[in-house]
């Protein structure tokens, strides 16, 4: 038996012993997801047990080195673990922007002490992080951000406002882009880390057209951010004034995640909607049926594209800007999908909070998709990038 097969067997038994049955049920609502942090509570004993078993094993961040709270798994081992968890439908033990966003940035740019300090906290779910990138005035034009940190020697005094800070109202710390040099657009931003409980820092949830949301506005009024949290633990990632490099690195990371996720998003709609109509004692209108058929062609073709993209990514064959294309096409397709589902669902799908629609799932879901082509880079920005980096069209 190969090492990997041994590992698979061990993993299976470990999961069998440590993943409670309740943690193999599909996630039903927000409470079923454990985000950690200072204010976190467990929904159930099972959730707690599963989380703690994973922390002990390093399985909240299996591919991170052991010294930072991970399990130090090789890529091949990590894949086996993912496969085995998927097989038994195990829930993710800890959801966290620390794991998805800050972690990769620290692993790439952080100092040794910084990694030990912050990554371990993240792995153990002690600190819940949120992201402070966008501002009301910036948007697609992220680098135009205005939040300013005035240099006061051993600390900055930060003033400004961030938007789209997901779960900021429940987070403990924020990783935040702050302008520290007004003269230098790209080389005047610092990627800071600070406690959202700091004096002068406040948050306000954003209500979306689809209803309540995890998004917040975060306000900083004379927030004092020390430059260091101890020996070898700077309060920023990378260098001062070079935070844009970190941000760009993370944006690429994020776009790939989004497009990769959409790669799996191949759902056709015609056949489900036809059954849906039958159930309601009706049948598909012929012109609507045609529209669904044309959509399904596009969805199935995009499904093949997702597969091809992931295959090519693995071996480095994909154009480096290809994630932009995937993000553009995938999100536009998903918006069309929900438009058609709303149409095929008829008046029932218009209901906003009825029991029959589980509280307006179709309509709220439909509205939510409209953000797909805005967040993580608008469709317009994606098209700009394709023009420039793939088609090599002249800049205007």
């Amino acid at each position: 038996m190969s090492d990997l097969e041994t590992f698979r067997e061990e993993t299976r038994s470990w999961l069998e012993a440590n993943c409670p049955a309740e943690m193999r049920e599909p996630v039903r609502d927000e409470e079923d997801i454990y985000w950690g942090g200072r204010r976190a509570t467990f929904k159930s004993d099972a959730q707690k047990a599963w989380f703690e078993a994973c922390v002990a094993k390093g399985y909240t961040v299996p591919a991170w080195p052991k010294e930072y709270g991970g399990a130090g798994l090789s890529p091949a081992e990590a894949k086996v673990l993912r496969q085995e968890m998927t097989r038994i439908k195990a829930r993710i033990p800890l959801s966290s922007f620390g794991i998805w966003m800050l972690g990769p940035a620290l692993l790439h740019f952080g100092t040794e002490e910084q990694k030990k300090h912050f990554l371990s906290q993240i792995a153990r779910g002690e600190i819940r992080w949120c992201q402070g990138y966008s501002e009301p005035g910036s948007g697609s034009d992220l680098v135009s951000l205005q939040t300013f940190g005035e240099d006061k020697g051993d600390h900055w005094v930060v003033n400004g406002q961030k938007v789209w800070t997901s779960y900021a109202d429940q987070a403990d710390w924020i990783f935040c882009l702050v302008r520290t040099d007004k003269e230098n657009k790209y080389k005047g931003i610092t990627f800071m880390l600070f406690d959202t409980a700091s004096e002068g820092c406040s948050t306000k949830p954003i209500k979306l057209i689809s209803g309540s949301s995890p998004f917040c506005e975060t306000f900083m009024e004379d927030v004092k951010v020390p430059k260091s949290y101890g020996e070898g633990i700077p309060a920023y990632v990378g260098e001062i004034n070079r935070g844009w490099d970190v941000a760009k690195y993370l944006l690429g990371h994020e776009r790939e995640m989004i497009s990769g996720a959409d790669g799996g998003n191949t759902g056709t709609v015609g056949s489900a909607m036809s059954r849906h109509a039958s159930k309601a004692g009706d049948e598909l209108d012929p012109v609507l049926r045609a529209e669904l058929a044309m959509f399904d062609v596009d969805a199935l073709a995009y499904g093949a594209m997702g597969e091809k993209f992931l295959d090519e990514i693995k071996v480095g064959k994909a154009h480096p800007a290809q994630p932009n294309m995937m993000k553009y096409a995938g999100t536009e397709l998903n918006k069309r999908r929900h438009e058609l589902m709303m149409t095929a669902g008829g008046s029932r799908s218009l209901e906003w909070d009825s029991e029959e629609t589980s509280g307006g799932k179709p309509s709220r879901g439909w509205l939510r998709t409209k953000a797909n082509s805005i967040e993580g880079g608008t469709s317009e920005v994606m098209l700009n990038v394709i023009s420039k980096r793939i088609l090599d069209l002249p800049g205007s």
Partner: protein, 379 residues
């Protein structure tokens, strides 16, 4: 008749524009009632004001105490309702039910029209039985019972059904589900026994009902038009209602386009007003072109209907389908061009998207009407 408003109509348009902007605007009506979770989904005060303006009874004949105006005029009011997203019973009461009542007995007219004209009554129409509009199939039954009828079945997507003083209900009095004949329209009063409403709030904050008729006893004089001959009345009501919904949709499309174009002139990104970006300019200009064409289709349909042309029905479907596609484009482009803030409840563009969605669905969507255009064209 030239395809633009004559002098009287232009004056009415001015009046309707300022009235709706002043009294029917988003902040004072849609958001106001929505944020209070109003069970009617609209304000009775505004309805009364609309009566004072002469709007509520504009389609009612002068002999019956109304203004005897036409669908061009009703469309003028509806476009402003659309532009301001004004929640109101105008489309269902003053267009659909009023059209049905034109075919009613003097007794029925006397019972219901004064309340409409005064803005004291609200009417609803109960047509759909499946989630998709399919009026060719009516299965709600009205069986003879004594001097009258006994109504059984259920209807859905009855806008303002629970707030209505009277519901126009299409029921089958003979024949089988898909028969053209054998339909009868009834005016069912609010307090009819054995009628129950399940109210649901819709995406656009309007309130509709799933309404059950569990052996509702009706007098013979509740019949609108002829027994078994209701298809004609139903069709007249639907054609008027679709043209009306299309007019409202043009208002929604225009309103969404206007606030979006304004936003393009204010928002800066990459050191430029985003309205300077040619890709957005071209999309906005394409949208403008579509909105203009949709508006033309609507006024053409209105004039044909007012002129009693048999082409009105074809054009009603053209208008409804064209407007649905156009308003859909307007709100999608609107949210996208607003970017992140377009997703927030704080900005109005999302409200246009929600209203458009409900309006698209009401009385048949673009696909339904395109199919009807094909059928009426013999293919």
């Amino acid at each position: 008749m030239p395809l633009y408003h004559d002098e009287d109509q232009a004056m009415l348009a001015d009046t309707a524009t300022s009235f709706m902007a002043d009294q029917g605007n988003i902040k004072d009506q849609l958001r106001h009632w929505r944020d209070r979770d109003c069970p009617d989904g609209f304000g009775h005060g505004l309805w009364k004001q609309m009566a004072e303006m002469g709007f509520t009874g504009m389609l009612v004949g002068e002999d019956d105490g109304g203004l005897g105006m036409g669908h061009v005029e009703a469309g003028i009011v509806l476009e402003e309702i659309g532009r301001n997203l004004t929640p109101s019973p105008f489309l269902t009461s003053s267009v659909l039910a009023a059209t049905a009542l034109k075919h009613g007995s003097n007794d029925l007219k006397g019972r219901y029209l004064p309340g409409l004209i005064e803005g004291d009554s609200v009417f609803a129409v109960a047509i759909d039985e499946t989630p998709k509009h399919r009026p060719s199939r009516i299965t709600t039954k009205a069986e003879k019972s004594g001097n009258g009828f006994k109504l059984s079945g259920s209807k859905s997507f009855v806008i303002q059904g629970a707030s209505a003083d009277m519901l126009v209900v299409a029921a089958r009095t003979s024949g089988s589900d898909e028969d053209e004949d054998g339909i009868t329209l009834f005016a069912v009063p609010k307090d009819a026994a054995n009628m129950s409403h399940d109210s649901v709030r819709l995406v656009d904050s309007s309130v509709a009902t799933h309404t059950k008729f569990d052996g509702v006893e009706l007098d013979g004089d509740a019949v609108i038009g002829e027994v078994d001959g209701g298809r004609e009345v139903l069709n007249a009501m639907l054609t008027a209602g679709r043209i009306g919904a299309a007019a409202e949709g043009v208002g929604v499309a225009s309103g969404a386009m206007d606030i979006t174009v304004d936003y393009l002139k204010q928002r800066k990104q990459f050191g430029k007003l985003i309205g300077e970006f040619q890709a957005l300019q071209h999309r906005a200009s394409h949208l403008y072109s579509e909105v203009e064409i949709a508006r033309a289709a609507v006024i053409k349909a209105q004039q044909l209907l007012d002129g009693g042309s048999e082409k009105a029905e074809l054009m009603s479907s053209v208008a409804k389908a064209k407007v649905a596609k156009t308003a859909g484009l307007a709100v999608k482009e609107g949210v996208q061009m607003h970017g992140g803030v377009g997703m927030t409840d704080e900005y109005d563009i999302g409200l246009y998207m929600k209203r458009d969605r409900a309006l698209q669905e009401f009385l048949g969507d673009a696909y339904f009407h395109a199919n009807r255009v094909a059928e009426m064209s013999g293919y």
